[in-house]
């Protein structure tokens, strides 16, 4: 579904990503973890087209999308949420999701009725009770769910989630995990950035670990947990 090929990003003299390559297969839930500042969000920005890489390519369904602007990548089936929340603060919860469903209808074919699909999505992420509230009245955790619902309203084939679980209660986080598993079962691919390691280990089939702009480990949850380089990156001991 997604292939990132040798991507490099520089901010002035700082190399934020150093030749990162990874793949997200069809209908797979892949985790991307790493300490703060490792470059996870930068990689998301490169994949969605908000950041231009100084080297490397991004391929979706085997097609090179590196030179496409963000909205065209979205139309090819790419959706995302943001680590720093980007909801539409003047709109209600329902309108936030509705706007995305309407946008999808304007460029998609045979779309379902936007208002109904927005309500269904809100039901699915558990926000039906607050759908007519303005989003600026909601706590952060719920805003992340608004973003998830909004991203789903574009009916993406590949979903990039940037810390959707932060700010959620244990119960909510479990429900989120179940939702993600469901989505993948429906045929979507998900790349998940998450600090809640428990959640990542529970739901992801494969995990990439990013540290200082490089992938230092890739494997199943068990393999990654046992990897000495990963332990070093997280615990700060020498990898040698």
């Amino acid at each position: 579904m997604l292939r990132v090929d040798d991507v490099e990003v520089r901010f002035g003299g700082v190399q934020a990503l150093k030749g990162v390559s990874l793949e997200v297969p069809d209908a797979a839930l892949v985790g991307l973890i790493g300490p703060n500042g490792a470059g996870k969000t930068t990689l998301f920005n490169v994949i969605t087209g908000l950041e231009k890489p100084s080297r490397g390519r991004v391929l979706m369904a085997d097609q090179d999308v590196t030179s496409l602007p963000p909205h065209q990548r979205a139309r090819r089936g790419l959706g995302r949420t943001f680590q720093r929340i980007e909801v539409f603060s003047s709109l209600t919860v329902h309108e936030n999701v509705l706007a995305a469903a309407e946008a999808r209808r304007s460029w998609g074919k045979d779309e379902p009725e936007p208002a109904r699909s927005a309500s269904e999505l809100l039901e699915r992420v558990g926000l039906r009770d607050v759908e007519h509230e303005r989003v600026d009245k909601l706590p952060t955790g719920l805003l992340r769910l608004v973003e998830v619902a909004r991203a789903l309203a574009s009916r993406p084939r590949l979903l990039l989630l940037d810390e959707p679980g932060s700010g959620l209660s244990t119960h909510e986080s479990e429900a989120l995990g179940d939702l993600l598993v469901d989505l993948v079962r429906d045929g979507r691919s998900i790349l998940l950035v998450e600090h809640d390691v428990e959640l990542v280990m529970r739901v992801c089939q494969q995990i990439h670990v990013l540290d200082f702009g490089s992938i230092i480990a890739t494997g199943t949850p068990d393999e990654v947990q046992r990897d000495p380089a990963v332990q070093a990156a997280y615990l700060g001991t020498s990898a040698a």
Partner: protein, 621 residues
């Protein structure tokens, strides 16, 4: 060859003055991050102050010169920074833009108040009568002074920023204010200093420019604004490129004066700096979409369809009843307010919902009036009054739509000013007028002023309800979404450029229709009806009224229409619309939602209270 050299020297002198004003802008902008739209007006007030001291009160010229440049101007800049700018750091561009535009029109108001235009004021040239001859070319001392001063300032600034501790600290603040603060620099102090320096440079430009022509409040302000193009040549950062840009503008304008035909000299030459400004803005790279740049705005809740239609009907009925009671003079004021409110709806759409700044809405209104006048009215005229500005709007949008914030404001400013000079002065004639017929309708005598008043009320009501309907539909949501978070909108497949193009075109069409109706109200229009500075006043008033609601547009337009009446009451207040608007903005500009927003908020609270009461009553029952 001698002519060429003489023209080049004249151009060089003007270019040097542009360089001074542009350097002032760049210094303030790079250090404080705020583009000072009032820069030109500061130069104007400084020139008048210099006239007051030296000619009016008979101070020796050098003393007056030093007092203005080294004491009054820097003091003014420092005070402006402390009072107006400092509370706005980190505020979105829309807010700082409105604040400095507010300062611009306030200073214009002060200029008209203190130095009424009924007296001719002339500043003698420096070293009047002294000349030197270089290669058979006569250069007067005044020209020489300008060139020498400019070179000295350019070199001085360069040394200041590269060699002195303070200059380096200023550059550090630009790069990272927080880091600079950790290193012991006080960012506020540095920024205040930059405003003092900027004001001083604006003053120097104004004082040097003034002897080259008669003192005129608007002309002097606009001339200094020409320097903005040079500042853009240096992308608001690079001082050497800024100076080079200024010289190119000065010399090319002067050469055109010498060699081009009279048409070009009259209409195109005054617009050259603005054309260059427009071009410089076009060469800017497209701004990247950024995540994490939320506007943090909270627009008032929109009223439901039934409620807004109800209000619209009541509005029209009240207008019908009131129209019978009003004297012809009051009817004219009311009609003016109604039609301007309609023009301002275009700003609610573009700036309020779409988040785009435009300083050229009256230009589109003018195009609408022009189309109506040229086609002779009727249905075809109305159609043309919508189509021509829409087409022009689309064309402008195609070139500027990738810009946002400050650069969009500068591009629309350049467009408005260039259109004033090239198109309206040419098509309508300097001081000329174009007859504009009123639209003809079956069974309605639009020639009757009372009927026209009611018709305008109907048009405004329909326009407002239409706008609210649009806001509640998919396109409205898309606009608000794009305004709230461009990055998130793009990642759900919305093309930011296309959406902005559509809204810009639509808003130009609304402004154009309003312009045609405005022309019909007065029976004619002149170039003075669509001036850039009036567009600025319109934007500011709309901001004061509240950019997010038709109510705000109505309140703003009514106050604009009442200005001439106020003027009659207090003729000594000069151009009262500038002073009052400016002071209003300076006082209230920090409230982004304006008066209309406050009303909407109050309505919201009442609604909540009522719901609560109903709830309590039910619980009790």
């Amino acid at each position: 060859m001698t002519t060429f050299l003489a023209l080049s020297i004249t151009g060089l002198v003007v270019g040097c003055i542009y360089a001074l004003t542009a350097c002032g802008l760049v210094v303030t902008y790079t250090t404080s991050g705020v583009f000072n739209f009032a820069h030109g007006a500061i130069g104007m007030v400084a020139a008048f102050t210099y006239w007051q001291l030296s000619v009016g009160w008979g101070w020796p010229a050098p003393l007056a010169f030093l007092a203005v440049l080294l004491v009054l101007a820097p003091l003014f800049g420092a005070v402006v920074e402390r009072v107006l700018i400092r509370p706005l750091y980190g505020a979105p561009i829309g807010v700082t833009l409105v604040a400095t535009l507010g300062l611009l029109v306030t200073l214009l108001g002060v200029g008209f108040l203190v130095w009424p235009p009924d007296t001719t004021r002339v500043l003698p040239k420096f070293f009047e009568g002294h000349t030197i001859t270089v290669f058979s070319l006569v250069v007067d001392y005044n020209q020489l002074l300008v060139i020498v001063t400019s070179v000295a300032v350019a070199v001085g600034l360069r040394l200041f920023f590269s060699r002195t501790r303070l200059g380096i600290a200023m550059r550090a603040v630009v790069d990272d204010p927080e880091l600079a603060a950790l290193a012991g620099t006080k960012p506020e102090r540095v920024s205040q200093l930059s405003w003092a320096m900027g004001a001083s440079l604006a003053a120097l430009a104004g004082v040097l420019l003034a002897p080259l022509q008669t003192l005129n409040v608007t002309e002097l302000t606009l001339l200094v604004i020409n320097g903005y193009a040079a500042a853009m040549a240096g992308r608001l950062r690079n001082l050497p490129a800024t100076v080079a840009g200024a010289l190119v503008i000065g010399v090319s304008s002067s050469l055109v004066l010498g060699y081009a035909g009279p048409q070009v000299v009259n209409y195109v030459r005054p617009a050259i700096p603005m054309i260059l400004l427009f071009i410089a803005v076009l060469f800017l790279k497209q701004e990247r979409l950024r995540a994490g740049s939320l506007a943090g705005l909270r627009m008032p809740r929109t009223t439901g369809l039934r409620q807004s239609v109800g209000v619209g009907v009541v509005f029209v009925v009240v207008a019908g009843v009131v129209s019978g009671q009003l004297s012809p003079a009051h009817l004219a004021i009311g009609s003016q307010g109604l039609v301007l409110a309609f023009v301002m709806l275009s700003l609610v759409l573009l700036s309020g919902y779409g988040g785009q700044v435009s300083l050229c809405q009256l230009t589109f209104a003018g195009l609408g009036a022009y189309a109506m006048g040229k086609t002779g009215g009727g249905a075809l005229g109305l159609l043309a009054a919508i189509a021509l500005p829409a087409a022009a709007g689309a064309l402008v949008a195609l070139t500027v739509v990738r810009l946002r914030g400050l650069f969009l404001a500068l591009a629309t400013l350049a467009f408005a000013q260039a259109m004033d000079q090239i198109f309206f002065n040419n098509a309508l004639g300097y001081g000329g007028t174009l007859a504009i017929p009123r639209p003809r309708l079956p069974f309605v005598d639009t020639a009757d002023d009372q009927v026209y008043f009611v018709l305008l009320a109907v048009v405004l009501a329909v326009g407002s309800v239409g706008l609210l309907v649009l806001r509640r539909r998919a396109f409205g949501r898309r606009l608000i979404a794009l305004n709230d978070s461009p990055a998130a909108s793009a990642t759900m497949g919305v093309s930011p450029v296309r959406t902005r193009l559509v809204v810009f075109t639509l808003s130009s069409a609304v402004a154009g229709l309003g312009g045609a109706l405005l022309g019909g109200l007065h029976g004619s229009v002149s170039p003075n009806d669509f001036l850039l500075l009036n567009s600025c006043v319109l934007l500011l008033l709309a901001t004061l009224g509240g950019l997010y609601t038709p109510t705000g547009a109505f309140l703003a337009a009514m106050s604009y229409a009442l200005f001439p009446e106020l003027q009659k009451l207090v003729p000594e207040l000069g151009q009262v619309q500038f002073l009052l608007t400016g002071l209003g903005v300076l006082a209230l500009g920090r409230n982004r939602y304006g008066v209309g927003g406050q009303l909407a908020d109050a309505g919201e609270k009442l609604r909540a209270l009522r719901l609560q009461r109903v709830g309590v009553a039910r619980a009790a029952g």
